[in-house]
């Protein structure tokens, strides 16, 4: 029997168009865009939705208690809902909440909505120091007295990570650049991708340092966009679609409040704890062989490579070699991020939902041009956020 009291399936997914600026809509209208697509995808109407899970990081996006403003535009009027905030992994945490609610029998059909619409600007967008502001905004999430004054956002974290890996693994910078080029190639096939640039390994290696040893092209862009997903109980799912994607398991692993230890960084323990729990609980002894697609939350190409090791997808010090020989390409042995990943499209709040959406599309076989050329039976979506909080979902074609 499944892990849960009731089986749960993904029955609909929806993504908005993603771009650096979506000034044609305000925040709640942007949420509405992906929800309409999601309802269309599931061929449901607003009245079929029983509960709505809102993912949002209020302090970053300019409206407090934002679930209130969203209500009218996310099909939540006179309905119950949940609001979660777990940093970048929030789009995944909201999905987990939906799975819990459906599995518990609290409802049969739950909608997850995640939207990012950062502040606009009265200056021309290219003159706006969005990057520095975004990092500062996220730095505000660090300890106000201990960390804020020295920290430069998650950027700094990934730079530390990169330096550590360089010293530890003997990797070549070309391997990491190849990982970035792979993401770009995949993003070009994805209609919902943001950065669609035909870049080469040389482009990556020649791009300027933002925080040494991290280069500009090795880090994600700032995007605006939204994502939505519908989860349903077994009975409802079978009625709604002939291609339900079953939720085999969900795992979250969070971490302590100070990041210094993570930056040492001996400690990607929550990635490890979450992934190991997922493999163990579901009888997966060799994820490299048993998982068909892996969608990872990779704010930087370095993260993708390093976390492969921490998630026990391969041995320590081996990930860069695998990437170097193309094993994680869309048609490789172990496709990672056929969507182009977070490094190509990062609206923040919906980024994890987008990973889950992509995993579901791959299992359904509906990913279009970026569908991996093999039968996808099991896919994993991963989310990362806050002070190293991680979420994982294991989706499968066969009913658990």
């Amino acid at each position: 029997m499944a892990r849960f009291g009731r089986r749960v399936a993904v029955v609909g997914v929806g993504l908005s168009h993603c771009d650096r600026s979506r000034s044609d809509v305000n925040k709640v209208e942007l949420a509405n865009e992906s929800i309409r697509r999601c309802l269309d995808d599931a061929q449901l109407s607003m009245s079929d939705i029983e509960e709505v899970m809102v993912a949002e990081i209020d302090s970053l996006f300019g409206v407090g208690q934002s679930q209130m403003w969203y209500t009218d535009d996310i099909a939540c009027y006179l309905k119950p809902g949940v609001k979660v905030e777990t940093g970048g992994s929030v789009g995944g945490s909201a999905c987990h909440s939906a799975v819990h609610h459906v599995a518990a029998g609290a409802c049969d059909v739950a909608l997850v909505t995640a939207t990012s619409k950062g502040g606009g600007t009265r200056e021309p967008i290219e003159r706006f120091v969005a990057g520095a502001r975004a990092q500062a905004a996220m730095t505000a999430g660090m300890h106000p007295i201990w960390d804020r004054w020295v920290f430069v956002g998650p950027l700094m974290l990934f730079a530390f990570m990169a330096n550590d890996y360089l010293m530890r693994s003997g990797c070549t910078r070309e391997a990491i650049a190849k990982c970035r080029v792979k993401a770009a190639k995949n993003a070009m096939k994805n209609p919902y991708g943001h950065l669609k640039r035909d870049i080469t390994v040389e482009d990556v290696l020649n791009s300027p340092f933002i925080i040494w040893p991290l280069r500009l092209l090795e880090f994600c862009p700032i995007s605006q966009g939204s994502a939505a997903m519908i989860f349903a109980s077994e009975e409802k799912a079978k009625k709604i679609t002939n291609k339900p994607v079953w939720v085999e398991d969900i795992v979250s692993a969070h971490s302590k409040q100070y990041w210094t230890d993570a930056m040492v960084p001996i400690d990607w323990g929550s990635q490890e704890a979450g992934a190991v729990a997922l493999w163990k609980r579901n009888g997966i002894t060799n994820p490299w062989k048993e998982i068909d697609v892996f969608e990872m939350y990779d704010p930087s190409s370095w993260a993708e490579v390093i976390w492969m090791e921490w998630m026990h997808l391969c041995g320590k010090g081996e990930a860069w070699k695998l990437v170097d020989r193309g094993a994680t390409e869309i048609d490789g042995e172990f496709p990672i991020n056929p969507s182009g990943g977070v490094v190509s499209t990062n609206p923040g709040v919906p980024s994890t939902t987008m990973r889950y959406v992509e995993a579901a599309l791959q299992v359904r076989g509906d990913a279009g041009e970026h569908q991996v050329p093999r039968e996808v039976k099991r896919a994993v979506g991963h989310g990362f956020g806050g002070t190293n909080w991680n979420t994982f979902i294991l989706l499968s074609k066969d009913m658990p």
Partner: protein
């Protein structure tokens, strides 16, 4: 009504300028006072799993034991474990001020008892990247006592030392 092209409407400025009072709490206050008054680093060690918490905190994250008053002295010397150099302007979220440049930041394992932890993210005095090495020995340089205000920035940076 005709759907004629509307002149642009600029984004609405509707910011809320609020400032919060962030308490350091009892454990961190004690540690900050110790830095201010005695230029000493007072960490706390988990009595059970021996992890060292810097800054000190009420429970051990690993085993959830209360740390109590199991103070341990750390530093002032330490070993560089990892470092980065910020090349972009960084906004200080405390003030909104843009820092055009800043010295290399490093994680430093402060000297002290055995046990995981005792790492600190701080600045290095050394700015020549070629001279920064893993395992390099450094020592905290405090501001003069009268300028110290009970903040992590009472330590200006870590200076390379020969041993």
């Amino acid at each position: 009504m005709t759907e004629k092209q509307q002149a642009e409407v600029l984004p609405i400025i509707a910011g809320v300028d609020f400032r919060f009072k962030y308490p350091a709490g009892a454990y961190m206050s004690k540690c900050l006072h110790e830095m201010k008054e005695n230029a000493r680093f007072l960490g706390i060690q988990c009595p059970k799993c021996k992890a060292i918490w810097w800054p000190p905190q009420v429970v051990c994250s690993y085993c959830h034991s209360e740390t109590g008053t199991n103070w341990v002295e750390l530093g002032p010397r330490g070993t560089v474990i990892n470092w980065v150099v910020v090349h972009i302007p960084a906004i200080d979220p405390r003030t909104g001020e843009v820092k055009a440049t800043q010295p290399p930041a490093a994680t430093i394992r402060l000297d002290g008892p055995e046990g995981r932890g005792a790492n600190w993210l701080h600045f290095l005095e050394e700015t020549d990247l070629d001279k920064i090495k893993k395992g390099m020995r450094v020592e905290a340089v405090f501001k003069p006592k009268e300028e110290r205000e009970g903040q992590a920035s009472d330590v200006m940076f870590f200076r390379t030392v020969e041993e």
